[in-house]
């Protein structure tokens, strides 16, 4: 029996319709990454939103795993660190 993952594995090959090949276009990636940030709720301190609907079908289980962590509350030590950055400016 083929597993759920294999079924998903067969569906869709291109993330976000990406088609180009060749060397990594760093500047282009930076520019388009902004859209990805917004899509994932990572922009400008917005509340993180699960992004299970984005990307190719084969990646759905991976996105669920990723989104589980994204939706967790911020651990106290990280919140403390942010506060310290604020107060010290360093």
């Amino acid at each position: 029996m083929r597993s759920w993952y294999n079924k998903a594995h067969m569906a869709g090959d291109s993330p976000q319709g990406s088609k180009s090949t060749g060397k990594a276009p760093r500047k282009a990636a930076r520019a388009t990454g902004k859209a990805a940030d917004a899509q994932a709720g990572g922009q400008a301190g917005a509340a993180p939103q699960p992004c299970a609907d984005r990307g190719p079908a084969w990646a759905a289980p991976l996105r669920h795993m990723y989104d589980e962590v994204v939706s967790e509350p911020l651990p106290p030590d990280l919140a403390d660190l942010l506060a310290r950055l604020d107060s010290t400016g360093e």
């Binding site: 990594a24 760093r26 993180p48 990280l78």
Partner: protein
Amino acid sequence: MSPPDPFKHELTGAIPHLRAFARGLCGRPDMADDLVQETLLKAWAARERFIPGTSIRAWTFTILRNLYLTDRRRSRNQGEYDELVAERTLITPAGQEGPLHLADLRRALMQLPPERREALLLVGAGGFSYEEAAAICGCAVGTIKSRVGRARAALATMIEQGVEGPREGGQAGDAIMADLARVSERAS
């Protein structure tokens, strides 16, 4: 009251994604959060180099990845191995049936070579394009495509055959599917 620092505002928004990426990379929540802390400090120290209007997620993921690779090299020199990390990842308290099934996926991920694991996490889980993932990893787009393709194939094989052996072929995959369905139901 002074207006909020835009850089810090964006950095804060990236933290949940940094945590998810880090956990996928190293498999251990405690180690992942340490990695995120280090990343935040590095990013803060280098904030003058961040170009406003570009992707802070891609920028910080690159920092985190480099820190992870440095830590990994150090661990290898100290005689620690990924197998140990993978084994610890699998420990799930009794009675937590759902997480146990998701742990199958995490376990399979941890068995992938690191460069394939990170490619799969960036493209499959993080939603980056191949081009963005290539920029983060500092390699060609074709290399990322190849790594993602091989990682998908390996992951599918591992899950179908049972990641650790005791589970029969499709059972692990079916269990994960059922678990994910429950997660989706809860979310909707």
